[in-house]
Symmetry: C2
Subunit: 452 residues, 2 copies
């Protein structure tokens, strides 16, 4: 008895691909390319440095190029399109359905786009133009128009014969959508019902009329949350008048959740999830420069606060030694609260109702931790510099800063969300500004008041 | 024509639940509870403060308690179990399948656990003990044992009749698993094939023998990645000898991806995704205290470095004003690189093969941005303090720190991963230590060398 061959994990796949590309045997590379699923090819391409990436891409047959492009992040896709033969690309796009082509749209260069539009048939063009009219990051943009609908007044036997006649069902079909004469959504018939019931049963007896349909305008984020909260496998997408426009399946939701979660993580460092890990140095530097510039303003603001107390520091140099501790601890505590709140906001679990309670709780936590660590730093600093007064001031300043940090960690992201600014992106900079300014100000200010 | 009623999003659901709980009409609360899906109830419970949370929980019927508990994060579930009547809990667990009960295991208190074990039937107990033997965060822990298998040598018609006789198919069945006489995995028959082909066709003619099975030992993370890369809807889980043990469906993967992505985000702030947003203040403070303590060590280390240069600062106080800029910019730039690498490692897109290329690229980016911003800070500081020398030193120190930050941002997480430490958790602290120490050391060191 042989053990079954199991698929390798990402690291192994990547290591194997890298090794094969490095050796450069054309046959082996071709075999590798042939064995890869489109999303696997995309995974490997994203993880390769520009040179091996280009050589791998050149060996991908035009027939699968389109599907690989859809899976790639925007920047990598754009870079690869630039080195792709125009004819290959036309061949690639022609093989794709309307939904796939829309996904490709935002990476296709303009002249090619018009050319593609002309070459596709009328039926496809209508679908394509329809698909184009939906906004990205909404149910309309996510859905597939490839939908199977049935009527409520037929028997399961009729449905089965219809399916056999049709010869195919759309990928990921877990249920058939039931509509009336006007194509309006009535409910869904689970495939499992179709399979397990007597063929003479009517659809109307088995269909689920409580299963939700969603508006094409629903934001992707809300669609994903609905799938998670209701354990859905697919959901029909409806027009304002209740007509069925398309269908979203759970595999589309996987991507939404991955992107959404990545978005919070990357935004908090001023990055985006759509960038190429191996983007050219100048392009990467340019993008990050802005973030560094914004943070530099914060740093200068903090420096300006310190400068206000130049005379105090001149007289007690030890203050300069200890002041970063106050700012740093505030920043750490604040970013814990901030991260908690950013995640809560992304999940929709923070609203007006509980924000106040959360604020109160976080401030209490800040106060308690402030007290504990204030005692510790006061003792350490007091012993270190043989000066209990400095220790006490340090502890007091830290306590104040930790409470401010907790307050800002809740208030800043909630306010940003309210005014429509991404709290994950802007929250960290604003928070650090507060904790730096408050940290330096209280410590040096208290020292000026009490030690001079 | 009325527009269809569409499901509300998380914020609205939460706001409505909060309002109903606040008003306190028992009928309305009961209606709310009845309308909630288990995962919806969990979503609302997690977002509520302890008091309304408890009152909502008390109204949830024992029949759905188990399913709600599974959906809750560990801490919230544990807290609610503590206030749950023992009899209700027994009723709740009895209604769950073996797989569900395993999911509950890590939150059930020990005495109750034994009681539950005794009360369940032999068949369920065997399944339950089997399920217990798999490790969490592996395919075995993720899978459901509720599987439908068929033989390759029968016709579709036989399969259809078998399904009707059985009367139910497991949730999320997109394909039937084909096994031989010894229960060994042969391939899968897509439901779509079953639906669209002539009933007299044999399973062997239609089954997909290339579709993968995975070992029960496969880590959850790799299982999720496989679903994403191969666009799977379900995958059979196999024993070492190729026997089918169970099946993982894409809806389980949704949770894995959500948790995994949340894990990176939360770990980078020293938090975990399994904690209650409204945990008691003392418990929260205790957990965060450790993180603050670790960071305090870093801060004291930085202070000690500054202390080495007390004499220098005494003579040129402006240094104290400007030194946080160097440390802060290093921290920001470094955490950009760190985040990029932590995400790459989590996705499996960074291996020995490309780490060197990434290191080189990040250092180049750091160098370029260092040069740009060094000129800016040099100019600003030079003008501000009417001292070009200090400006030049500041720029030089920042340049050095940004390059160090880029190097550490790649090297630290890659090394941590290699020695089996979570790079998301430990990476940030180590990185800040480097950027603080290097930042203060170079700026104050250069000043001591050239300005005194």
């Amino acid at each position: 008895m042989t053990t079954p061959t199991l698929p390798e994990n990402g690291e192994h796949l990547l290591a194997r691909a890298t090794a094969i590309l490095a050796k450069g045997s054309q046959i082996e590379i071709r075999n590798l390319v042939r064995s890869l699923y489109p999303a696997e090819a995309a995974f490997v391409l994203e993880a390769l440095e520009p040179e091996p990436r280009a050589s791998l891409w050149r060996l991908i047959p035009p027939g699968v190029m389109g599907e690989v492009l859809i899976e790639l992040n925007v920047e990598v896709a754009t870079a690869l399109l630039a080195i792709t033969d125009r004819k290959d690309l036309m061949a690639a796009t022609e093989q794709m359905g309307a939904d796939g082509m829309v996904d490709l749209l935002h990476v296709l260069p303009e002249p090619l786009l018009s050319q593609v539009m002309e070459s596709i048939g009328v039926h496809n063009r209508n679908r394509f133009e329809q698909a184009l009219s939906y906004r990205e990051h909404t149910a309309g943009g996510l859905m597939s128009q490839d939908v199977l609908t049935i009527r409520a007044d037929v028997t399961l036997d009729v449905v089965s014969r219809y399916l056999r006649l049709r010869g195919r069902v759309p990928a990921g079909t877990d249920s058939l959508i039931v509509v009336d004469r006007k194509d309006s959504f009535q409910g869904v018939l689970a495939i499992s019902q179709l399979l397990t019931h007597d063929p003479h049963t009517k659809v109307s007896e088995l269909m689920d009329t409580k299963s939700p349909g969603i508006s094409y305008k629903t934001p992707s984020r809300d669609v994903a949350a609905l799938f998670e909260r209701r354990k859905l496998l697919s959901v029909p997408v409806l027009a304002d008048d209740g007509k069925v426009l398309g269908r979203i399946t759970i595999d589309d939701i996987l991507d939404v959740i991955r992107e959404e979660a990545d978005h919070s993580l990357m935004s908090m460092a001023g990055l985006t999830e759509e960038h190429d890990m191996f983007a050219p140095v100048v392009a990467s530097a340019k993008r990050r420069a802005l973030w560094l510039g914004v943070n530099l303003l914060t740093a200068f603001l903090a420096a300006w606060v310190i400068d206000l107390f130049e005379d105090t520091i001149q007289q007690i140099v030890v203050l300069a030694v200890l002041m970063p501790i106050v700012a740093s601890m505030g920043g750490i505590a604040g970013s814990q609260t901030l991260t908690l709140v950013v995640r809560g906001l992304a999940l929709g679990q923070i609203s007006g109702g509980n924000a106040r309670g959360l604020l109160f709780k976080e401030i209490s936590v800040g106060l308690l931790n402030g007290l504990i660590w204030a005692v510790v730093v006061a003792a350490v600093a007091g012993v270190w510099f043989h000066n209990p007064h400095i220790g006490i001031l340090l502890g007091a300043a830290m306590l104040i800063n930790l409470v401010c940090a907790a307050f800002s960690g809740v208030a800043i992201p909630v306010l940003l969300q309210k005014i429509g600014v991404d709290p994950a992106l802007a929250g960290g900079v604003l928070l650090t500004t507060v904790t730096d300014v408050v940290g330096f100000m209280t410590f040096l200010g208290l020292a000026t008041l009490f030690l001079l």
